[in-house]
Symmetry: C3
Subunit: 344 residues, 3 copies
């Protein structure tokens, strides 16, 4: 292995307080939006039509919120998760500014927690990642924790620091995009009549549709976000010769499928938490169901917020999440907790 | 199944005179053109080069005519064909205005015919669909008829109305894009020397090339048009576990292959009819042949019109369409009848 | 086979001095860049971020240099290699002007050599191909030689003309893009600290990462370049039913993988030579290693040039190129020799 090659950081290379400046800023334009709509069955009208976005008070249609997430996430991979064993969770995710075609995104992370595991071979690190646009405005931020291998098993265990993370972003901390106004919202063009008042806390929605995924697709998606983790691309990287599908691919697929029942949950503004419960592989048929966890009003005209659980599965019945012992059922791929903006 | 999910309309939900306003308008830009050229071997020069289009009197290169068709068609799926058993035919298709990068398309359909089948379980509906751009100009329109399941077998049969549809759009009803002028047409850059006068009615052309299709590709294409029909995406939707390839994917593939022999049949302006004769599945190798059905002059300088039969196959010899009993041969995928504009 | 179909040229159709004007000019915009980043793990910052490109003295981010190469190459296929048996080599490749979004490329080739093989059934032709933009500026040029079948075995052998081709483009003949200035180069954003002075002639770099390739991907890439060679698309074109992956797909994949160790080898400006040593097929896992062959200073501020050997493999150990008998080892896919610009 050449000395010039990045072999990734190991657990002992992280320390609380470190700042990681991630490489390769990325200018995103309409081509990336077209690709997003080719890779996922995305249909939310605000992200499909400039005219629809203008009728909601925006200058034109922003890029899908998850494009920003994936691009920022992808930038962190070479510094955070190249030697990761598992992506353990997300918290405190917040979108602050829409990504507009032509924006250039870069990402910076701070190490906010480290904890060596008792086996002495791995540890958990927590990073708070912030994505910036070319105006140095924060586009989005989130906390993520991953289990990372130690490179040198003799390296001493660091002092354990586990950050205190709230279970959800408080509704009043959500950032509503400037100008957003749903008072002239066209429910016919959006595709469904259901508004804020039609959703009840505890309500569950089966999104019905399924998509069987292929290796060519998830590799193209993952590359598009400049995510370089070997396990997604190289059949020799895992013992069984499969390519693990990037968890973000499952997030985007499930979110797009949730249009059917949540067509008006237009903008994602908060990521409260998320677990990639089981691996997703080519040939799996992804389905999704949602549960309304909370509701909140906002200060923007005609705009409410729904806190939603989005569950992706690869089979089994909807609305079943865990076994009797509290573990995720084997067919559950994703358990995501997010805030979305809907018309009131 | 959640009450908020669209389960699609059944035969008894349609009545002659209904207007269906289809959801999710779509802004289309250069990204979609790039994707079209990635998904199909499209090479017609007018759609490949802004300079070539300008030499033909257009402001710049329009989006491929079938992009407009697929986007409009895709919008109709949730309202027209989610519970369709078969897509039976097309008629009276006409392109009125090119789609330019940045245009936003939406679609509206009118129910113009209904006929319950004698089995009492299904019926045929005829819809006339119109695609509009953001200026409310008609971009294209066409009639399509599909066989749809009844949801409630006890629903009474409606009065039968079968629209009277001509076999072809009359040449004088074709709309020539404003400014189109083929008098300075560059046959070298276009790729072939054959002009209007070189084609004879009855002439047949084997387009020679073949493309073996993959699931990843047709799913990406079909998603790009926001077409949500389950059978294209979900291996659990059909008894044999295959994913049926969207008929429009075969149309675009065959049209692109027809460049070889019809490189100068630049613009599609009429769709006289079409049948998806047999299912197309991943692994099939699509080939195409054409027959000149008719010729007509137009009022635009240097512009003639060819009425062409475009046949796509998955094997077998070219120029063989039907068995002795008049049925399409099993290897025939598509029998399309359209008008194209060529230099005189 | 219809008389209007292009069956391609055979060996006897070429003569030294011929000029071939290739068809179908192509306007390339941001959509094609987005696709390039979806198809290959491309991460060189100059081609990813407008702001990074501006910090290097360019107006904004150009399209990846290999996009220009592939588009020009694709245009030549119908006239040069439709009946080719093998793509034998490249020489004297030089990029003169970056391709900017919105440029329209066309291509012209001159036949500069012909040599019938002793078997009387095939021959070698040499062509010098030039790609032009819409301002008739040369974008790139290269010499390529291919083995072509004779169509008529009785055609007389032409007088042998073998062009005298240098082993490499001289460093002083490289064209540095106007304005390029690496004196404010941001190594952190670029992803690696290694500069011109850190690379030594003879140094070898293992790029570590691997990508297992799929049929859907390479067909989409090859179509994107409007390359129509049957063997890439049609499972009936080769006796074993495989689809041969376009050699340029391997070039782009290997170049993108070389980011890991050569993140600062930003711009490709010369193609000294190249051999597609063995066929690449779906399922192969492409890896890459590089060797520094030469170094040169340039007149541009902060800009040096590295001459690099880029080897792509489908297995085996890095840095092993040939067997004892001097033949390429069976796992070697590509042996490419090029010049790249790096910060000093």
């Amino acid at each position: 292995m050449g000395a010039k090659t990045n072999t990734g950081r190991f657990f002992e290379d992280y320390a609380v307080g470190q700042t990681l400046h991630h490489a390769v800023p990325r200018t995103i334009k309409m081509g990336e939006r077209a690709l997003y709509h080719m890779l996922y069955p995305a249909r939310h009208a605000l992200y499909s039509s400039d005219q629809f976005a203008q009728s909601c008070g925006l200058p034109f249609s922003p890029l899908d919120d998850l494009i920003g997430f994936h691009v920022v996430f992808g930038k962190t991979v070479p510094d955070v998760s190249l030697n990761a064993v598992a992506n353990l969770g997300y918290a405190q995710g917040r979108w602050s500014t829409p990504v507009w075609p032509g924006d250039t995104l870069r990402a910076v992370s701070q190490v906010i927690g480290v904890k060596q595991n008792s086996n002495g071979k791995t540890g958990v690190i927590w990073v708070r990642t912030t994505g910036f646009n070319q105006h140095d405005e924060t586009v989005l931020e989130y906390v993520r924790w991953v289990m990372v291998r130690k490179g040198n098993l003799d390296a001493p265990a660091p002092e354990t620091v586990v950050p205190d993370l709230p279970k959800a972003v408080a509704a009043q901390d959500l950032v509503i995009p400037r100008g957003l106004d749903f008072t002239s919202y066209d429910f016919t063009l959006a595709g469904e009549p259901h508004r804020f008042g039609d959703y009840e806390i505890g309500e569950q929605i089966d999104h019905v549709d399924g998509v069987t995924v292929e290796d060519a697709e998830h590799m193209m998606a993952t590359r598009l976000w400049q995510n370089t983790a070997k396990v997604h691309f190289d059949t020799t990287a895992r013992p069984d010769g499969t390519r693990l599908i990037y968890g973000g691919h499952v997030i985007s697929m499930a979110r797009a499928l949730s249009f059917n029942g949540l067509a008006n949950a237009q903008m994602i503004v908060g990521l409260n938490g998320g677990a990639h419960a089981n691996p997703c592989l080519a040939g799996d048929t992804i389905r999704a169901w949602s549960e309304v966890l909370d509701k909140a009003e906002t200060s923007a005209p005609g705009v409410g917020a729904l806190r939603l659980r989005l569950v992706a599965t690869k089979g089994g019945a909807p609305f079943v999440l865990r076994d009797e012992d509290g573990k995720y059922r084997p067919e559950v791929l994703l358990d995501l907790d997010y805030w979305a903006l809907v018309p009131t």
